[in-house]
Amino acid sequence: MEALLQVRDLHVQYNLEKAGHVSALRGVDFEMTAGQSVGVLGESGCGKSTLATTIPGLLPAGASITRGSVRLRERELVGLEEMELRSIRGAEVELIHQEPALALNPVLRIGAQIADIVRAHMPGDRGSAIRQTQEMLQRVGLPGERFFRAYPHQLSGGQRQRVVIAQALVCRPQLVLADEPTSSLDSTTQSEILSLLQTLRQEMRVSLLLISHDPAVLATLCDRVLVMYAGKIVEQGPLSEVYRRPRHPYTQALLSLVASRQSGNGNVRLPAIPGHPPNLSQLPSGCSFEPRCAERLGACAVREPEEVEEGERRVRCFKYGG
């Protein structure tokens, strides 16, 4: 199957005025085929949100791609002019932000905010844009005139997230990047939104890159998973295999946490990964996970491990070579 998205050796830096540079992405390599659903798992600061904003060229001022390539169906996105990127955004690549309440304009009706996207990218007049908007709203479970004319503050958190999903899918893009789409919602709404995403993804045959710090969220939707730590992908492969037999110590630790949570083993002390993610402006030499790793080897503190491939799985750890 042909590759939809190819990211090679992606390096992204943030320029902080007084504090110098911070490397948010330090060599990210992965591929997605059409119709796949890939999850990105990692804690805050690992670079997953940066990855999501880099692909459609939405990095904030002060951040830049210093190396690497991002190809969408053989088309190189790095280095494209803003005008060209604008035609790709919305029509081919879409991004769902973390906080739905903030992603919507408070003084415009939601119907207008969706119809605008249609008018910007699809041929046709205002009437056809409205029709497509109404159809999309129906699909996400917000039917009728009442929702079309509603303002964002009149909707609940879950409903606002549905609007954002409608915005993302209305032009039928090939790739949707969803950055923690459910972390601000309560658990019943969260499961509703996730199942909505699943349904729409299958119906509209959209490829999905889902980002979350919660492995359970990814398990409901994704075929493959990329585990990120300190700006690099430390493990990737088919989700069910990676979850059942995690290789990288970080993945093992993270999943172990979730497993103990599920078994409800309320000890007086919870298992946790000791320490915290490294400060990206002061990275240690060697493997970035080494200070917290329970299975350190001699080489770990000296150099960074290379990626080792085995079938569909890749790991960055000296335990497996590298």
Binding site: A219, R261, G266, P271
Partner: protein, 281 residues
């Protein structure tokens, strides 16, 4: 322990007793005459035992946050009583309330918005002591540094400002600030929601330790049943402004009675086939 958490809470003298607490918000339309009352609390009955880790769960709009604010005396309910040390908090005068407030502390979800960005970390933790005219400046500083150490914030970050801390560290700061006032009951309103899983576990461990050391009682409000199942002794479920079910954590997850509880339990995403790894975590 959560497994036999019922034993911790049953037969224990109640620290706090809430009786038929009710509160509505009246929303007045700015130009027209319309008013619609929104009922937040509809006769809440709740007992919190000494030393208990009670979780309060429910969907958005069930009234959890309103209850938290009423218990911390930040808002006054319309009717009902909150019995604490033999006194009804609802009926206390301002002076007495000021004396009681330090004993019930509230920690919010987003510490960043609760912390004054112009104060250094040490100032923030000292502030409540200053307001209560506690001891000398040196004694206050000492107590503040102690509290910070207990939550895992080393003294060298005392002069840093909130925006220079990570989200997890800010949350610890909020806990230190509450700790300094020697509370008996700590109400945590979604205080760990949205944090990384490992961070949640670390801060929860700190809370466990503090509970042992200072004989604290916790009222933990959350919509994240996954975490609740792991840490709570007992769970109370709120719906439509009332408590509709209450059981030990294990019991609630084994056989939820009410439909709303069943829906909440069902909504917890589970991953099949993963096992905890015995390690030196």
């Amino acid at each position: 322990m959560a497994a036999d958490g019922a034993q911790v809470c049953v037969g224990v003298e109640p620290l706090l007793r809430v009786e038929r607490l009710s509160k509505s918000y009246v929303h007045r339309h700015p130009l027209l005459l319309r008013q619609h009352p929104v009922t937040a609390l509809n006769g809440v009955d709740l007992v919190v035992g000494h030393g208990c880790f009670l979780a309060l769960v429910g969907e958005s709009g069930s009234g959890k946050s309103t209850l938290a604010r009423c218990l911390a005396c930040l808002e006054r309910p319309w009717s009902g009583s909150v019995w604490f040390h033999g006194k009804d908090l609802v009926k206390l005068g301002e002076a007495e309330l000021r004396r009681t407030r330090p004993k019930i502390q509230l920690i919010f979800q987003d510490a960043a918005t609760a912390l004054n960005p112009r104060f250094s970390a040490l100032d923030l933790v000292e502030e409540p002591l200053r307001i209560q005219h506690y001891g000398s400046a040196r004694a206050r500083r000492q107590k503040a540094l102690e509290a910070m150490a207990q939550v895992g914030l080393p003294p060298d970050c005392a002069q840093r400002f909130p925006h220079q801390f990570s989200g997890g560290q800010r949350q610890r700061l909020a806990i230190a600030r509450a700790l300094v006032q020697e509370p008996e009951l700590l109400v945590l309103d979604e205080a760990l929601s949205g944090l990384d899983l490992s961070l949640q576990a670390q801060i929860m461990n700190i809370l466990f330790e503090l509970r042992q050391q200072h004989a604290l009682t916790y009222l933990y409000i959350s919509h994240d049943l996954g975490l609740v199942r792991q840490v709570a002794d007992e769970v109370a479920v709120m719906d439509g402004g009332r408590v509709v079910e209450r059981a030990s954590a294990a019991e609630l997850f084994r056989s939820p009675q009410q439909p709303v509880t069943q829906a909440l339990v069902r909504a917890v995403p589970e991953i099949a086939g993963i096992r905890p790894v015995a390690g030196s975590w």
